[in-house]
Symmetry: C2
């Protein structure tokens, strides 16, 4: 690496993102291709890393380089820092290699002081503008750099407004602003014991340091944690000469997308404010105008902007999210980046760009965030229901989708509700990064302030979560936990419904219906299917789930949990009778009652799945799970079974376990009660024989033995399965191929997979249990603990969400290697929750699994993730 810590904008390019940050790299790129970017320079992420490794000290080398670049900037601009005639003013912005919206801090108008403010007033012939800029600068610098509480500044500002009877900020005159500035400076002096810095160089160094410092603030750390961004990246700092959108009515500022981030429509989408600086748009304090109205306000600049937008999209071959300022009718580009977008927009933009010849299919497939695909599959409101309902308010359609839930006014209330398994709608004046945790768990978000690019809107779209923003009809009292709409009060805990696609807010609960999957979605999916090498199966326990999954493109069933069939009202009495049976004979009587149900279910599933593979797992949970939980139900069972209540209670008591997770379950049941495995095998094999005949297809049942930890355990149960299967086939006078395999869900199974593969024809990784046992963590008991560990940085992520590669993954890799050593053609899959998680799917592809299996709604996610993994790993 070159030993250089500061780059002018004309020295960089978009490929230098790691060093210059995203913003810096893109400013350099725009400069390189000749777009109108106010000149400046970037202090690199290396300087930031050095700052931290030096114990939060800016290195003198860095300081010297900044000074040199500052001189260069002064020369280019023909202005000087602190010049009482024509002062250079700059903005100072953070820019990390990975976009972290709202996480880092920005200073505008740096270089203003008691002298230069006068020069600015003269040069612009606008004294009010100059003093307003100065007071904004003191306030922003005071807050962000000097860490004087913003509310103290606001007190002074609002005090002055009240004093002169000003309704809006613009009602304040120049003298008022001067009075406020005096107050601000006194506040700084009183708080810190030193004057507000007047030397622009000192201001600049302090501001750069503050940006570096802000990399380590709590909000930034939380954001990185939530978004899996490495702590070691560091941020760059961009120092750019100021342009002013608040110079009058021929000035303005805005943000825009090259296409719609909501649905991908090919037309510039965005908003702007006349006579305003950038933070007014983002902060959602004033409500901006739609971008196309800019054609009236600044016709020349708008034409230019349309052209630049087109250039940028072609240059980056991706949809762009841009910031700009118009100063006295002249357009300046302040930022461009690849735009965040909804799932729908992502799909449409990707397909459109392939059609436009901008990108190829692989690129298109890589452009879709697999996790977002699920949002396309999620419900919307039933249109009849919605047509009949009258919205109580209408806000901005900030993030599409629909949701209902109980009103919550605080992030932590939403978290509490969610922990109880209830649905929450987070209602806030506007959201800030502090609300992130609540937004994650909420069904939807409603804000009173802010536009479609406000924090709430951006974050909600990022999460693919429905959001209605800027709904000013809603008066919110966050402390009293009540919102008032048209005079009617809605308290915490009451239900509301949100439609993020049209911005409507409704009282109560509206009916949700499943979504309609568009043609572009299917196109992307078909491209993904061409590319991927791993198969995608589904976890389905009922014919209904299976059929849904097949619609979503499942190529078979990776896990059919037979026990879920037992909980049905018709069947539970027989299974209970089986459990309380005192001997094998009476157990067999009860099992005989279950047989027709199981066989019927399997047959229906086989008829649906046809000759696609279906893995059926033998009974897994401990038997006590099937016994009644309440005294009443127990008494009922006593009556219906004829077994005395006391005997039943004693039996239930004796089945109780201290650690049921590690108890008498899985194949251990089949070792103890082979007759259960016999019944299940009979149901599977006879169902397959009958379905084969009806379909005229060769069905190959896959029978999976769970919780195996030792080869001889598998042998024991396999012997029962094989003997029963042979008997059934003999009886039906029909030969059927079938496979017997096992789950790898106990660490010991992974460690001895070479031995187990001698008996198992396939392995299916049960990563839920494997994670529990490898970590010694019960999922049922440690959700809060894991959250705490992630917050403290002890775990990078929740290992139940995404496979822990260092531990669980090591075991999986070992098991695949050992398994293949014994049986080179062993079939390998995964059926834990992780089978639907893109990062885990990528890992599964890397260790050579043949398929992943996941819940029906995750099937498209998995198809896409498997394709992306294949592209990234070149296989």
């Amino acid at each position: 690496m070159e030993n250089k810590f500061v780059y002018s904008f004309n020295e960089g390019s978009k490929d230098m993102r790691d060093l210059l940050g995203g913003k810096g790299a893109n400013l350099a790129e725009m400069t390189k291709i000749g777009l109108p970017v106010p000149f400046g320079f970037t202090v690199t992420t290396e300087a930031c890393k050095k700052y931290y490794s030096d114990g939060k000290q800016i290195d003198q080398t860095v300081v010297e380089e900044i000074k040199i670049k500052l001189v260069e900037l002064e020369n280019v601009m023909g202005k000087k820092f602190g010049d009482p005639k024509d002062p250079l003013l700059v903005s100072v912005r953070s820019g990390a290699p990975i976009s972290m919206p709202g996480m880092m801090d920005t200073i505008l108008n740096l270089g203003l002081n008691d002298e230069t403010v006068i020069a600015l007033a003269k040069l612009t012939d606008n004294e009010r503008f100059a003093y307003d800029s100065y007071r904004r600068f003191i306030q922003m610098f005071g807050d962000v750099v000097l860490e004087v509480p913003m509310k103290e500044f606001n007190k002074i500002f609002d005090g002055q407004k009240a004093k002169v009877g000003a309704e809006f900020d613009v009602d304040l005159g120049t003298e008022d602003l001067k009075t406020i500035i005096v107050g601000y400076k006194k506040l700084v002096k009183d708080t810190l014991g030193r004057d507000f810095p007047q030397d622009p160089q000192e201001q600049l160094m302090e501001a750069i340091t503050a940006v570096f410092r802000s990399w380590g603030n709590d909000r930034a750390i939380l954001y990185r944690k939530l978004n899996d961004i490495s702590e070691s990246l560091g941020t760059a700092v961009n120092v750019q000469s100021m342009v002013f959108g608040n110079k009058g009515n021929d000035s303005g500022t805005g943000v825009a997308f090259t296409r719609s981030p909501v649905n991908g429509e090919r037309s510039i989408y965005g908003e702007f404010l006349v006579n305003a600086q950038g933070e007014d748009v983002v902060a959602g304090i004033r409500t901006p105008k739609p971008i196309h109205e800019m054609a009236e306000s600044f016709p020349e600049a708008y034409k230019n902007f349309e052209h630049i937008a087109d250039v940028l999209e072609k240059h980056y071959t991706d949809m762009q999210d841009m910031e700009f300022t118009v100063e006295n009718s002249k357009l300046f580009m302040l930022q461009t980046r690849n735009a965040k977008r909804t799932a729908e927009a992502a799909v449409n933009v990707a397909v459109d760009m392939v059609n436009e010849g901008l990108i190829d299919k692989k690129t298109a497939v890589l452009r879709i965030e697999p996790d977002f695909v699920e949002h396309l599959l999620h419900p919307r409101f039933d249109s009849d229901d919605e047509d009949k309902a009258t919205p109580i308010a209408k806000g901005l359609a900030a993030s599409p989708g629909a949701a209902f839930g109980k009103i919550c006014f605080q992030a932590k209330d939403a978290t509490e509700l969610a922990d109880k398994g209830e649905k929450a709608i987070l209602v806030r004046q506007e959201t800030s990064p502090e609300d992130l945790a609540g937004m994650v768990v909420a069904q939807g978000i409603l804000t009173a302030h802010g536009g479609v690019t406000s924090h709430a809107a951006v974050v909600a779209r990022g999460m693919g979560k429905c959001c209605v923003a800027g709904c000013s009809a809603v008066a919110i009292d966050e402390d009293a936990k009540v919102m008032t709409v048209n005079g009617k009060k809605y308290k915490e805990g009451e239900f509301i419904s949100l439609n993020g696609t049209n911005g409507n807010v409704y009282e109560g609960m509206l009916k949700l219906v499943p979504p309609d999957i568009s043609g572009n979605f299917n196109k992307i999916m078909s491209w993904a299917d061409e590319i991927r090498t791993m198969k995608v199966r589904t976890n389905a326990d009922t014919p209904k789930d299976l059929k849904q999954a097949l619609v979503f493109g499942a190529e078979g069933v990776g896990l059919c949990r037979t026990e879920h069939m037992f909980f049905n009202e018709e069947r539970i009495p027989a299974i209970r009778e089986m459990i309380i049976a005192k001997d094998e004979k009476s157990r067999r009587v009860a099992l005989a009652k279950l047989l027709p149900f199981q066989k019927g279910d399997f047959k229906e599933m086989y008829l649906a799945v046809g000759d696609r593979p279906m893995t059926v797992r033998l009974l897994d949970p401990p038997l006590h799970e099937f016994l009644p939980k309440t005294k009443e139900d127990m008494q009922q069972l006593a009556e219906s079974s004829g077994v005395p209540y006391d005997v039943l209670v004693a039996e239930a008591e004796s089945l109780k376990e201290f650690n049921p997770m590690l108890g008498h379950r899985g194949c251990r049941l089949a070792v103890t009660y082979p007759e259960i495995a016999e019944m299940q095998t009979e149901a599977i094999i006879t169902a397959a024989i009958e379905a084969s005949a009806e379909l005229g297809k060769d069905i190959v049942p896959e029978i999976m033995i769970p919780l195996v930890g030792e080869k001889k355990e598998l042998m024991n149960v396999k012997a029962t399965v094989v003997a029963t299967a042979e008997k059934c086939m003999e009886k039906a006078d029909k030969k059927l191929e079938y496979m017997v395999g096992t789950m790898i869900e106990i660490p010991r199974a992974a460690l001895t997979a070479d031995e187990i593969a001698e008996e198992a024809e396939f392995f299916s990784f049960g990563t839920n249990d494997l994670t529990q046992m490898t970590f010694g963590l019960s999922r049922d008991d440690t959700a809060e603990l894991i959250r705490g560990y992630v917050d403290k940085g002890i775990y990078d992520h929740d290992p139940f969400k995404s496979i822990d590669r260092d531990g669980v993954g090591k075991l999986m890799k070992l098991a695949t290697e050992l398994g293949k050593k014994t049986r080179p053609n062993i079939h390998l899959g995964i059926c834990g929750e992780h089978g639907g998680d893109p990062k885990s799917i990528e890992f599964c592809n890397s260790i050579g699994l043949n398929y992943v299996s996941c819940s029906p709604y995750r099937v498209p996610v998995a198809r896409l993730a498997a394709a992306q993994a294949a592209i990234k790993q070149g296989k």
Copy 2:
């Protein structure tokens, strides 16, 4: 291998045990060194394996070889099979490579038939003897080879006795025997539809086949399972010409040891019967005479026998167990083998033989079964007393030793009894930490549930207290204070006696014999100490345990469980106060109360252990374990704490876990409540500082962080420990070296041991938890399951008793390798129950652990086992 399936006795030697079996090899050896052994041959174990691999068919090659050897035998003996004048008679005996007493079957007098019996009568001039031999042969052959039930033969025999009014067998005359023989032959014909075989060659082939078959009978399979003998060994068959101990009063038979198998005394020890065949001695039908009386009965033969015993012991350099027959005053040796012996005898014989120059010290050390050593440390029942008593029930031999006392069903009742100076036996369904006080004062513990690693068993072994666990024949009503065994009720206060070495439970009081640790024991131990390379530490939670362990030779403490200090009556209120504290501040108030107790305990232990190492583990169990279990106790806590009962109950409820084993415990507590780790660290460090000063020795505390699964978790807690330790040292103005390490007890810790070793200065394998998680088996719930698995041959052994090398061992080996890669001098030990198990100790030695740690009474076992491992592994 030579393609030869049959060996004459003069073709083999003692080194051919695998091929000829133990008995055959020793018969060959005795033949080789010129001792009087009736000639014969051995059909090899290879022939047996071939029999099984051929689907239970004797190969024709084997048959031909047998015929050839039979001719050789006829030539040597000068007799012919089936010769109506001078018939050859043989015995057919099984003999596996590893002694399996009582498991295999024996046939005597083979070759007798309706013709040869007449010849035998003439030759011996003893018709009664001949016909008695014949009826015995038919009976034995009929039972063992033809599988006609023995009880049918007995019916005929007893019928004849009754008919003629014979009181004893000897009262039957020749004609009676002839009648019986007719009945026996009819029985065979009626049962099998064919005649009793008259052709001796046919008899021989059938008998050999029966021996092979018996290798696969249920008793044999069970024995092999129980004794860890491979199924693949096979058995040999010995065919030996008969000599007769029942030829009259100058004949006899006997068994004897070269020294006493009870105490090792150097004097022939055994018994004999005049005019009897071998099975009469073994079967215990007639009461034999002490061996030294043989000097009167057969003076010449006895003198010869004394000489041979001496020759054999010197030849084998070990104490021998011999069988012999005297036929017409002539001595014949039928068997010799290394003798089984009690722990006391083993120790004495080994030391004596070293003194006699027969063996060296290493051999002496290898001669002691380590598991038996513990028996020497505990009181026993007087063997005469116990022989006479009939057990009322049998449970698991959970902790060795013997005890009697009054039945108590509650810990506090035991305490009350003990306070009165009376002896108590604590009888519980199962014990929990709340019973500790009662266990401390009880003489012994009896539980109805739980296995050898249940709470009761583990704690009892730690205390060196006798325990019978899992005694399911005992139905306990703890509330009614009565236990029922076989329908008989035993109330509180009645006496019972427990033998924890064999699991027997007796009514009333049996006489106790105190342990006698002789000088020879200490001698063997000192030899073991010279040889072994692994250190032996103890698991001790109290100064009392520690002092006991130091007496037994412990070289430090490998595990001090701090939580055991908390259950004391004085301390539990403070820990409960800590648990129910609503915030950190009040938690600190409660912890401050605990600090002096913990510090005091640690100091007392440091004063005892001095500068030997002591590893203290931070709090491990989930907090709910410390809360009251009964409503009454909960109400008391409410009163004493001032916290409302409802709040307390809710708090206890919220702490409950579905799988506490995998829940909020271990270092997870310290991550959530760093103040607990702070208090414990302060107690450890200040105690060490004070003890160092008082002793004038440098104590190096070892602080162990439990349940770590991730490096950053360890870093988190270590930071708390280090900060606190530094603060304490600063306060005391005294520098102390100390170490921070971790337990490896979670699979993930083993898998990421390289990373963890970056932070840990030592690893201690917690193999109890590691086994639970690697197998996915909760030992509290699966004792019965594991028993079933061992019975079914699914597990070779209980993995909680001895380390599972294929799974858990693989993880341990990986962890030691990864740990050493990061930190070559990392200190490695084990503190799970396995640390006291000889086979596990051998494994620990093989993977290079520095020490094992076990309960005090296992320390001598471990010292010996470590020495044996070092000898066997050459290190």
